[in-house]
């Protein structure tokens, strides 16, 4: 009898704990209350601030901060960027934890990022359930905004202001076919969503053109690529290396030379960093041009350089400035429609696609595609590393 009562009590306690946990989960999932537009509104920024891709997040953060500093006042807003770190080496967990944290904080009205495709895939459902717009300035995996083989990982609350790998993959592959006349290409991936998606996109286009491809896969924690270089055939023309750690692209290119292999490294947008990846003859692609060459951006570049002395303008920062600009405009539209109060984060979400930006930082006018949450008419740019380490636009 005593045993029976104990069992009953244990079951009841378990039920109470489970019910309260469920209630807490639901509360976190839907936490949203009216926020005055005259108060300081927070935008979370989910990006790798540390780890091998830390350079990317630091650069993006500096441009987002600069966008707030230079644009918020003109829009009649007080905005604070709240950073959230997602080191690429730690997989999905930090992005999921941050999503719970930001969703649970009513003063956070929208999200910049997540910056990496893996982090988006890990957290987009949480943001979607909370009606929270999240706009990435760099997550390029195709199935975040489009259905691929029956799968679409992104939710309707996810947006990006850069083109996806559905453009980058074919662009890179077509450049290899038409400009480099490749016959054999080695394609690496790093067992994480960004590189897997991009590697597959390049592979498909190359195979369709009759190019021989060889796939190699390295754990994301790899630091020494000697054994991978050993597997690169001596007659391979290109090693496609879609890493998010430019220093690794540099290591791979050096180790190719060390073993006397003639293949050149071709990196994706994740390896576009002229301070770390600088073996001459290598290639990188990116969703953004060098904005220092755009006349209309002169004042923006000068202002950012003043705010960030000694730093150089990279390719990851400007789309981050643009994403911040889009979100602030969506917030302004919401404040106007809701008469000075943001009644719900869903109102901002609904307004994101209403935003167009004239004098877009990447050139021209920014408009959304009507078919997906992608930018309209965006393209990728291909650069070749020169003898002095500079990046020259070649495609």
């Amino acid at each position: 009898m005593k045993k029976g009562i104990s069992l009953l009590l244990a079951l009841a306690a378990t039920a109470v704990v489970a019910a309260s946990a469920q209630a807490k989960h639901e509360a976190v999932g839907t936490a949203s209350k009216a926020v005055s537009c005259s108060s300081t509104l927070k935008i979370g920024f989910v990006t790798p601030l540390t780890g091998g891709a830390g350079f990317l997040g630091q650069e993006q953060m500096s441009w987002a901060q600069y966008a707030v500093k230079s644009l918020a006042k003109g829009l009649g807003l007080k905005i604070q960027i709240v950073p959230g770190d997602t080191p690429v080496e730690q997989g999905a967990t930090p992005a999921q934890d941050l999503a719970q944290k930001f969703v649970g904080d009513p003063s956070v009205v929208a999200i910049l990022g997540p910056s990496t495709s893996g982090a988006v895939a890990a957290s987009t459902q949480t943001y979607f359930q909370a009606g929270m717009a999240h706009l990435s300035p760099s997550a390029t995996r195709t199935d975040l905004t489009k259905t691929v083989a029956g799968v679409k990982e992104g939710t309707p609350a996810f947006f990006r202001d850069v083109p996806g790998d559905y453009i980058q993959g074919p662009s890179d592959a077509n450049f290899m076919i038409k400009n480099l006349k490749v016959k054999k290409v080695v394609i690496m991936d790093f067992q994480e969503p960004y590189s897997l998606g991009l590697a597959s996109a390049v592979d498909t286009t190359l195979k369709a053109a009759g190019v021989t491809t060889i796939r190699l896969s390295a754990p994301n924690t790899t630091t020494d690529y000697s054994a991978f270089v050993t597997k690169v055939p001596s007659d391979a023309d290109i090693v496609f290396f879609p890493t998010q750690k430019p220093a690794d692209a540099q290591t791979f290119a050096q180790q190719l030379l060390e073993q006397g292999k003639k293949a050149k490294v071709f990196g994706g947008d994740g390896s576009d960093d002229s301070t770390q990846f600088k073996v001459p003859g290598s290639y990188v692609s990116n969703f953004a041009p060098d904005i220092t060459g755009i006349a209309a951006d002169k004042a923006i570049v000068a202002g950012w350089q003043k705010a960030n002395p000694g730093k150089t303008v990279g390719s990851f920062g400007p789309p981050s400035y643009g994403a911040t600009q889009i979100l602030m405009n969506a917030i302004k539209l919401t404040c106007k429609a809701d008469k000075g109060v943001i009644k719900s984060r869903r109102d901002i979400l609904r307004n994101v696609k209403k935003v167009t930006i004239k004098n877009w930082i990447l050139g021209g006018t920014f408009k959304w595609s009507t078919k997906s949450n992608d930018p309209l008419n965006a393209k990728f740019y291909i650069f070749q590393i020169q003898g002095d380490g500079s990046y020259k636009l070649v495609g």
Partner: protein, 307 residues
């Protein structure tokens, strides 16, 4: 055949670094019966000290001293810096817990590991640091060397492997042929009896940390002259070093050397002949297999308990 030779060169290069890290684990475990999980981060700090000294000496592209002296100086600086760090860690994180239950210093070691990784990140940021050895003499460390068949063994790899072997021989002589080494062995065998025989246990333990940490510092430089270092490398490198120590027999110095080389071979041949995807799976499966079927490792002694 060329592929086999190339993979063997890769295996020896990797294995040399793993062996040096494993020696640190094994030395400390031998004397204190402590798994020093902060050791991987000492290795990371060593790679950063080497980087700092390299910059002070003018950088790889235009060093102020001859290349051979440059390499020796950065290695010695990393060894010295890590030795000091090892002493500090032992004094403040482990000594107060020497008589506590064995779980306490283990937790302390994990704490030190996180402390070191995060402090380094705050101080130096997450940006990878490259020694840029490719820029030394227009890549002469990469292009010069000797050939085995069609395979070039570059100077940089020769330097890595030979330096590790020299350090291991020096350690072997120190432990087996000197009075201090005899005291270390005695302390490892029975700490209380050694103390009763007049051996200064504190001094021996301190010296053990100096040795182990200095080897980690050297390993850090030998690693970072070939690939970029970051504040995050300590964790995986530490795990691999620990695995090598377990394979060889934790507490056994020759075992750590053998374990490191076996681990390097396992990783390299798996990547070369089985699948590049499976190398970590194979490496850590070996660790699990040794833990289950031969916990004393290849050259370690079985833990015999009086019942």
């Amino acid at each position: 055949m060329d592929t086999f030779i190339q993979l063997t060169v890769d295996a020896l290069t990797l294995g040399s670094v793993y062996a040096l890290i494993a020696l640190g684990y094994t030395l400390v475990y031998g004397v204190l019966k402590l798994l020093n999980f902060a050791h991987g981060d000492v290795f990371m700090v060593g790679s950063f000290i080497g980087y700092g000294v390299l910059q002070l000496l003018g950088g790889a592209a235009s060093p102020n001293v001859p290349v051979w002296l440059l390499l020796i100086l950065i290695t010695l600086a990393a060894m010295a810096g890590c030795a000091v760090l090892g002493v500090v860690i032992e004094r403040f994180a482990y000594r107060p817990l020497r008589d506590a239950p064995r779980i306490a210093p283990l937790i302390s070691a994990l704490g030190v590991s996180f402390f070191l990784a995060n402090s380094m990140q705050l101080l130096f940021s997450a940006t990878p640091r490259s020694y840029n050895t490719f820029e030394i003499g227009n890549g002469e460390l990469y292009f010069k060397g000797f050939d085995i068949g069609n395979v070039r063994v570059p100077l940089l790899r020769i330097i890595t492997i030979v330096s590790a072997i020299v350090l291991m021989i020096a350690l072997y002589i120190l432990v087996n042929k000197t009075r201090t080494g005899k005291a270390m062995r005695a302390t490892s065998y029975d700490r209380e009896a050694a103390a009763m025989m007049g051996i200064d246990i504190d001094k021996v333990i301190r010296f053990t940390f100096i040795l182990g940490s200095a080897l980690a510092g050297a390993a850090g430089v030998l690693f970072a002259i070939r690939v970029p270092t970051t504040v995050a490398i300590g964790f995986v490198a530490g795990l691999k070093g620990f695995t090598a120590a377990v394979i060889g027999g934790i507490g056994s110095i020759p075992g750590a050397m053998v374990g490191g080389l076996i681990l390097g071979c396992a990783e390299s041949y798996t990547q070369g002949y089985i699948s590049t995807k499976w190398s970590d799976l194979v490496v850590f499966s070996i660790l699990v297999a040794f833990m289950i079927f031969r916990p004393q490792g290849l050259l370690g002694r079985a833990d015999i308990r009086k019942v």
